[in-house]
Symmetry: C2
Subunit: 157 residues, 2 copies
C-alpha cells in the first residue's frame, strides 16, 4: 500500500513559498513536488480554504503564504488536508455481534486513538519555521534553483 505523501509534499512547497516574495505558479511548484499542476492545485485547495495560503489568477498570479511560517503548525496543515488517515491498520467491521471481535477491536481502536492523539499533539507543537533547514533560514537556493530562480531574472530585469 502506497503512502499518502500529501503532507510531506505540501510542507515542502510551503517552505519554498516562504523563501521568495513573489507568487509561485502551480506549474513551478508542481515541479518541486514532482507532479502536475492540477494535482498541486487539488492538494493546495484545502490550505487556501483554511487561509494559510492565497492564490491569484492571471498575470503575476500564483501561490503565496497568507501568514508567516511561525503561525502555521504542522497540525493546522494536516487538518487543512482534511485529516488524512494516519494509520494503515484497523478493523474489518465496526459492528460485529461477536463479543470477542468487539473486544479486540475496541482495545485496538483505543490504542490507536491514544497514539493518534499523541502524534497530533506533537504536530500541534511544531510550527513550520522549525522545519526550515538552519542554513537557509533567510536565503533561498537549490531544488528550486533551476525552477524557482527561473523567474527571478525576468523580475529582476
Amino acid at each position: 500500500m502506497n503512502k499518502d505523501t500529501r503532507l510531506s509534499d505540501v510542507l515542502h512547497v510551503l517552505l519554498h513559498m516562504a523563501q521568495v516574495e513573489e507568487p509561485l505558479t502551480s506549474e513551478v511548484l508542481a515541479k518541486s513536488m514532482r507532479t502536475n499542476p492540477a494535482v498541486l492545485r487539488r492538494t493546495m485547495a484545502g490550505l487556501r480554504r483554511a487561509g494559510h495560503v492565497k492564490s491569484g489568477r492571471g498575470h503575476g498570479g500564483g501561490w503565496q503564504l497568507a501568514r508567516p511560517l511561525e503561525e502555521i503548525t504542522l497540525l493546522a496543515v494536516y487538518e487543512a488536508l482534511d485529516r488524512p488517515t494516519l494509520f494503515a491498520i484497523g478493523s474489518r467491521s465496526r459492528h460485529s455481534d461477536c463479543s470477542v471481535e468487539k473486544t479486540v477491536n475496541a482495545t485496538l481502536a483505543d490504542t490507536m486513538l491514544r497514539a493518534e492523539n499523541l502524534l497530533l499533539e506533537r504536530f500541534g507543537q511544531v510550527t513550520l519555521d522549525q522545519l526550515m533547514p538552519s542554513q537557509l533560514k533567510a536565503m533561498s537556493e537549490e531544488c528550486g534553483s533551476a525552477t524557482l530562480a527561473e523567474r527571478s531574472p525576468k523580475e529582476a530585469s
Copy 2:
C-alpha cells in the same frame, strides 16, 4: 485507502482458538474472519513460523495455539505478520537533493518513528489474554456459536 485488518483478524481467531481444545479448521476460522480458507492460511502462515500456533493436516487437523495467550504479546503477533506498515502517510522520495525537502522528510520521519516506537512499546505490554472479554475468560459462546459449536456434537458423540 483501505486499512489492513490482518492484525485485528488474527487476534480474533486466536482468541477463539483459545476457547476450545480441539483444532479448528481453516474453513471454520475463515468464517469468523469473514473471508475464505486460503486467505486465512496465508495470514496465519507467519504465526506458525513464529511458533505461536501449530497446524495439522488430515482428519482432525486444523489450527491450535502452541502456547497460552498469556505468553503471546500483541507485539509478537504484529511481528509474526511481518510488521505490516503502521502509518498511511509518508514521504514521496527518500532521496532528494533539495535540502528543504530533506529536512521536512527527516523531521516527519523522525516524528513518525517516535510514534511508532511508542505504539509498539505499548503492543509489547499487552498479552492476548488481556484482550479476552471478561465475561468469557473461561467459557466459549456466540460468534462461533453456529460454526464453532458445529463440530462439538460430532466429537462428543
